[in-house]
Symmetry: D2
Subunit: 368 residues, 4 copies
Amino acid sequence: MAGSTFGKIFQITTWGESHGSAIGVVVDGCPAGLPLKEEDIQVFLDRRKPGQSIYATPRKEDDAVEILSGVFEGKTTGCPISMLVRNTSMRSADYSEIADYYRPGHADYTFDAKYGFRDYRGGGRSSARETIGRVAAGAVASKILERLGIHLTAYTRSIGPVKIDPARFDPSQIRQNPFHMPDEQAAKLAADFLDGCRKNGDSAGGVVECIADGMIPGLGDPVFDKLSANLAKAICSIGAVKSFEIGDGIAVSRALGSENNDSFIPCEQGIKKATNHSGGLLGGISDGSRLLLRAGIKPTPSISHPQQTVTRDGQPIEVSVRGRHDPVVVPRAVVVVESMTAIVLADALLANMTARMDGVERFYARRS
Amino acid sequence: MAGSTFGKIFQITTWGESHGSAIGVVVDGCPAGLPLKEEDIQVFLDRRKPGQSIYATPRKEDDAVEILSGVFEGKTTGCPISMLVRNTSMRSADYSEIADYYRPGHADYTFDAKYGFRDYRGGGRSSARETIGRVAAGAVASKILERLGIHLTAYTRSIGPVKIDPARFDPSQIRQNPFHMPDEQAAKLAADFLDGCRKNGDSAGGVVECIADGMIPGLGDPVFDKLSANLAKAICSIGAVKSFEIGDGIAVSRALGSENNDSFIPCEQGIKKATNHSGGLLGGISDGSRLLLRAGIKPTPSISHPQQTVTRDGQPIEVSVRGRHDPVVVPRAVVVVESMTAIVLADALLANMTARMDGVERFYARRS
Amino acid sequence: MAGSTFGKIFQITTWGESHGSAIGVVVDGCPAGLPLKEEDIQVFLDRRKPGQSIYATPRKEDDAVEILSGVFEGKTTGCPISMLVRNTSMRSADYSEIADYYRPGHADYTFDAKYGFRDYRGGGRSSARETIGRVAAGAVASKILERLGIHLTAYTRSIGPVKIDPARFDPSQIRQNPFHMPDEQAAKLAADFLDGCRKNGDSAGGVVECIADGMIPGLGDPVFDKLSANLAKAICSIGAVKSFEIGDGIAVSRALGSENNDSFIPCEQGIKKATNHSGGLLGGISDGSRLLLRAGIKPTPSISHPQQTVTRDGQPIEVSVRGRHDPVVVPRAVVVVESMTAIVLADALLANMTARMDGVERFYARRS
Amino acid sequence: MAGSTFGKIFQITTWGESHGSAIGVVVDGCPAGLPLKEEDIQVFLDRRKPGQSIYATPRKEDDAVEILSGVFEGKTTGCPISMLVRNTSMRSADYSEIADYYRPGHADYTFDAKYGFRDYRGGGRSSARETIGRVAAGAVASKILERLGIHLTAYTRSIGPVKIDPARFDPSQIRQNPFHMPDEQAAKLAADFLDGCRKNGDSAGGVVECIADGMIPGLGDPVFDKLSANLAKAICSIGAVKSFEIGDGIAVSRALGSENNDSFIPCEQGIKKATNHSGGLLGGISDGSRLLLRAGIKPTPSISHPQQTVTRDGQPIEVSVRGRHDPVVVPRAVVVVESMTAIVLADALLANMTARMDGVERFYARRS
């Protein structure tokens, strides 16, 4: 059952393994006439590139994107946009030993259980490199959002026990520290914390937050295609994500109705909410206020710290995973979370155009 | 863009509004030959029925299900199973006044923003009655799971600040107290807490947990159709759900890799995990251990406590939502969370049959 | 794998068997604000009703439709429209004997082969009554088309060897003769021909043609969702259809390029085609000229003429199918072909709204 | 609305334009463990390669395929198989003049109408080169079919007025003459006929037939996913196809029921049909007998014969399409029809595994 395609109208299909010859994505359903060039994509890919600090894997990956189709004279044509990144830094030898045992916290065992064998090189399809396709597609989606005045900001909210302080929130910091934290002081504390992890051959997790400003009300559909439901799927489909929250998220379970309900108040544009506990949605449909979501990410499973596991033939062994691994994947996940959010929003924006008969009639009246 | 259909192989389509003449679901893709009778469905529907305690809306809803198609001589035929419940307890007059203003925390405003008008009677399509279709379909999915030895248990983990104590976990309690809590003492504390809420015209939220035992490894697909991603969508598509967790969930963001990784150890059946922080999945694919997920549910937005809001034409007013409402929806959401989990698992079980060529070859060899 | 859902945005799900308690359809994705009442649907259903002439089955079927959801105050709400028709003329006893053998030309054998058993009453899910759901949905789709100035006309082009004469084409005849032929003389010849068939316990096939005027250019997508491809699937999914043609259809295989190409010429609206061999499409996308398609329908397989077949346990027997059957299904298929065409066009109209970025930008600019 | 993805379980997504840098396909949902190498694909691509006779375009296209993902150690991994062919013979200059007018019979006008502009180089996405992705995917599908004993044969049934004679049917001829006709004499007559066309700057159409032997009964689903419906869509999505027939096809409209019904008779394997007018299907589900379908293909629209058309700004002009074009595309379409048929069958085979509960139970019993 496939599983590599996401979205209904703005629809992406990713492909590729960590150590195959290339990795990529096909974006189908992007409206025609959107200005797009490889640099637009590259900017996004560079944000997920490893090797940018001592807190990320020292692998050198150029990840230069090539647009193979769907763009003509600098604009999208309405036809599928195929984008490809060659894998250039493959050292398969690093992984040969893991062919024979199941790394704890990795998909080695489940791939074997499902498929009978696996491409063990660097995690194959379950590698974080799989997100290259998502990010390239997210760059395209973001171009659509920008033209409609919707702007996304994603950042690291916490690493291990170190959380950003809302009082020190500084968006300019996001791309200035290696953790993409909008709080300089928290970033320093995170660095100290991660130094400790690395010394112990250990790793850490954290939380990524993404907000969308300039939201258009009416996005998302009742019941199964609630915007929140599609965002939940998008975010939880990212490897290592173990929780998803929208608005106040997990905290609402302890709130009272009188605290949690957002009052409506009149405003210049007509109506707005006095607060935004709901994170920009009501009944799963965007209400025009800021969208806010959170992804909880587990610690990198590849640690040099010794662990118990078994070989493919069931023998117990102690392993210490070597190789070039991130002590924390959270900072690199920031652009992935942002990309998946952008993809869901672009899809919802297109879908919403067909929601009302008067909108349909005006659309076709204008053309004739 | 539709949005009322869920699943790929085991596919459900729900329909109906709170105060229309009926509400229902079409289940398509259910394998032929599954024994099924109306009582199987009714048992599930009765678990979500209101009017069962003072902590739930005193509306009397019979919610008697009728199977209209897809079953012949007591077995499913492989053709769509259409199930219908008549709405019998409709007092539309209760809702006439809410036609003109936007209830805080409800989808009134967003439906208007999206569609230009709305069926304001009892929330229309955004009413909790919409879950009748999900639960009826979940009953069918559960029959499939049972035959494969997979058993689901869902229960209330917390209501407001009152959480169950794992040390007192008693599954027999789940259907014995009105909160479906597997901890008698917590249920009593929850009753006290909710009494306070009701006195203040307020409401509470909570957390529902669902576990699946007897899991088959290999369910779910890499990338976008990870079992965790599809569960996230399923759960977050339920009205009032604001967070989703799998396994240790939100807590993993603060854990170390060495704590969070589950070691593999040999066992009689071959191999198992020593712990289960991951909640039964690795790389989004089931690993055979217990599946565990959590849904964070917001407080009921309908409260008699006075609230600020605006009318449809933008005038500020103070409202106090009257009508027959649950002070907490969490207990009634238990069977909905279980149903959506069952639907995702049934779909994944069917999809997984096509994952391996040797499985395909054996399947067709046997038939010839 | 389901199979009872059709369409991407305007999406329908049908359910029900010939002799179950009811039959119906859920239409999801219909834009909000479309005026709709049960009479709109009933008019379409009445066109497929049997018992209207001696050339159709004498079964009396009221086929009164009930709209159960998705309509409020006379307009669609954007939520799923569930429609139901009770089966009132069920005489299951008529069919008891066919439980044990495979009727030639019917789906008895293939249902058993696929599902292991079947609902043998009146063909179950493979009965022509299954089209009730299609026609009800087609009535909704037609309402959308009408508002955009697109008008469909379907009729019988031929019955057995009797073909309409384009020189005598008279649309007013379509609903005046029992064969829905736009040619009075051909209708008389068809009556004679069918009288002969009936005397011999035999049956006939024919061709249904459907045209759409007022077409909007740009409908359909390149590659797999060509308008022609989706129409082909829609039409060939109707039971008894064995061929599909668009424009000149099968005849183009013998034409020369210089004959078959349609020249473009200037016109008041800008540009039009001098001829329309292509049937209103180029590259699978509508070109604004008249859409024309044809469905070739096989003779009714239920004949009293003796036939050889086998029982479920493989014993040869001679059978003569009794019961109330149409000697020709072509006239009743006319409204089904029109309905499926309407559904495909409505879906394509909605999908096309997202094709261009300037259209998307104008759409959202207008709303703010 | 996308439109570049086809299939539900065995799902393909094609991309690329005639004169972009490359063209390709992603095959998702192929079972793991299928032996696959680039030569398997190349064999299929070579069958559609132009430049093989004077009756096909003299363009030299190497069309060397590269498998970029989804295959490890010579076997499919269950992950998406990305295949790419570089466009090496691009002479965009040939097409610069057609940027300004609408070629009759081509998609130039409809692409402009839909998208506002178009990639005019060689037809862009509507070029016959788009079929490279289909054929590469068809090669994979065929490997699956072969392992289950299903064998496809496609060939040219007619070119213009020249039809093969069933009495002279010789499958060994199919790959021996440039028209892929299984009748040596017909091939010679076709050559004569096409010589005449070429002299007049004209072109011809024809019919491609595809048969499948070794069919498994039970493939396809009732209602919308009838095997015949999915085949109709698959075939009619191929550019230039204007008709689709299954079994006796268009001829059934003139047959009597007593002629057209296929009797069942006992046989060694249990049961078979005495004749096969239905083309291997009953009720849209395969019955185990030979599948037979036909695609009617229009004459190549690019002809040097002078034609009337208009420029993009509506001025009438006379044009004579130059460039390297096939006088007939039928022979090159043979492998495309076969590929699309293979893709539909592979998808149906996988989908059918979930049709019966006893099959599901046996499948999972075997694994435990």
